[in-house]
């Protein structure tokens, strides 16, 4: 959450409580003139004005509305060919790329390399395991690798290391913020945070303005399901058109860098990137599974969470936080979706799959196992723990 600009105004130019006269505007003009004659005062007034303007004008809307919901279009499994080689009855691999900093990005890159180096023969055709990778559920820093894989295909193996893994993103972010008065101004807005600037950095270095629409246009698997956590409930948010239909938003227009940054935000470190809820504007009718009683407690909870987005009046904005806060592995989406649909067959029917001979769940986990017997921190505990 941001902070109020008015509450945070750094100076009060006139502390005299009396007079109704001169009128406020004249008084402000007088104060301005007086202040301009004093360099320090002038800078304080200018600074205050800039901060006020920042609050008013830096309010980006990152996700676009969807004019008409169409179940046959948008970024989702059923709008892509069944596998990279076009075969519908071949092994079906669902991977998850965990969060865990750049080490997670490196681990998932290494996993993709092994899949690309593992040949298989299916129905007489030489293939690679990576060609059968249908879905990647990605969380936080795993999302950078997953999106690069979907966007660049095999080129990821040449470029990802130099363009992402071997860069110091923390220094880059600091250098983008601290020496830049324009970014100070933008960051003063309660609607703009460091994650927006991080998204800009990612866009310049990795995603080059590409959107989910570009992934759709490539027409190749794997499909990437990014997972974030909703600030309101810590339930998970999936970035695919099936889920964006609920909020009547067009995922195709969302930039990959904004989506990736959204899944990586953490309170205090990277503030959330707000998404607007346009529910009710695209003709989306909630399916029966949202409204009917589900057989499991998990299914009922998921249905309740999804129903909450249908009321845009009372839930006008969504604030995605780091996906790791709800599930750092990236497989809870698989479990919850299956619980919501009721069984495995119905879930894969929804995904448009058929004749699957081998279903593989591959979890790439870069998490740490900190030695909690060596916890010596004496400061007030926060989200960042130093040991």
């Amino acid at each position: 959450m941001g902070f109020s600009c008015r509450r945070s105004g750094p100076i009060r130019v006139d502390t005299n409580p009396t007079p109704a006269y001169p009128p406020p505007i004249m008084k402000a003009g007088h104060t301005l003139l007086t202040a301009l004659t004093r360099p320090l005062g002038a800078w304080m007034v200018i600074g205050c004005t800039m901060l006020l303007l920042g609050c008013e004008y830096v309010r980006p809307t990152m996700n676009a509305p969807l004019s008409h919901r169409d179940s046959a279009s948008g970024y989702r499994s059923t709008t892509l060919p069944p596998s990279k080689t076009g075969s519908s009855d071949s092994p079906f691999i669902i991977a998850s790329f965990s969060g865990g900093g750049a080490r997670a990005s490196a681990l998932s890159d290494g996993v993709l390399q092994v899949l690309a180096q593992t040949p298989i023969i299916w129905e007489g055709h030489q293939k690679r395991l990576v060609d059968e990778l249908n879905i990647i559920n990605a969380v936080s820093d795993g999302s950078f690798t997953a999106l690069s894989c979907a966007l660049y295909g095999d080129h990821i193996f040449q470029d990802f290391e130099t363009q992402f893994l071997r860069k110091d993103w923390e220094s880059k972010l600091r250098c983008r913020i601290f020496p830049s008065p324009s970014n100070w101004l933008r960051l003063w807005s309660p609607y703009f945070g460091r994650a927006h600037i991080f998204a800009e950095l990612l866009d310049e270095a990795l995603f080059d303005g590409h959107t989910f629409g570009d992934l759709l246009a490539r027409g190749q698997h794997p499909i990437i399901n990014l997972h974030a956590s909703d600030l309101a409930s810590l339930s998970h948010i999936e970035f695919n058109q099936r889920r964006f239909n609920i909020i009547c938003s067009d995922l195709s227009q969302l930039s990959l860098s904004v989506a990736a940054a959204s899944t990586s935000t953490l309170p205090l470190l990277l503030s959330p990137i707000s998404m607007k809820n346009y529910a009710g504007q695209c003709g989306f009718q909630p399916p029966a599974r949202f409204l009917e009683e589900r057989p499991t407690a998990w299914g009922r909870q998921r249905a309740r969470e999804l129903r909450s987005y249908l009321d845009a009046k009372n839930h006008p904005y969504i604030h995605p936080l780091n996906g790791g806060l709800s599930d750092n592995i990236g497989m809870r989406g698989v479990l919850e979706t299956t619980a919501l649909f009721g069984d495995l067959e119905s879930t894969f029917q929804m995904l448009g799959a058929k004749n699957i001979p081998k279903l593989v769940y591959l979890m790439a986990r870069a998490e740490t196992a900190p030695d909690i017997t060596q916890y010596r921190l004496n400061d007030i505990p926060g989200l960042i723990r130093e040991s």
């Binding site: 080490r103 806060l325 809870r332 067959e345 769940y361 740490t368 900190p370 723990r385």
Partner: protein, 116 residues
């Protein structure tokens, strides 16, 4: 080292995933033949846990655990992670099983088609 403790429930997710895969395997075996289904009659489900905490060499695991979860790796750390990742998956028995089964299916299919 800076660590952000957000993976507390990962063990739960792993357990739930293990349990679910066992259940789904059972569902596949018990499904009625006459209903349309998304899986072949002999379909199988595999679960591969490729986690850095699964390294078999304790020293190697300790070195990997000391790499911070930040966004600024050294070149040495990147090299180390990429080498470890490759071994982690190749040496993983859960990964070897579907690869072996796919190779077996390819041999069987090839033999069958040769005899026809």
């Amino acid at each position: 080292m800076i660590d952000i403790p957000i993976n507390h429930y990962s063990t739960d997710t792993l357990q739930l995933m293990n349990h679910a895969v066992q259940q789904w395997r059972l569902q596949l075996r018990q499904r009625p033949d006459h209903l349309p289904n998304m899986f072949t009659p002999d379909a199988d489900i595999y679960r591969i846990n490729a986690g850095l905490t699964e390294m078999t060499d304790p020293e190697e695991e300790a070195r990997l655990m000391n790499i911070a979860t930040n966004l600024a790796l050294t070149n040495e750390e990147v090299d180390h992670l990429l080498q470890a990742d490759s071994r982690l998956l190749r040496d993983n028995l859960e990964f070897q099983r579907p690869v072996r089964d796919l190779a077996h299916d390819a041999t069987t299919t090839s033999t069958t088609s040769d005899t026809h």
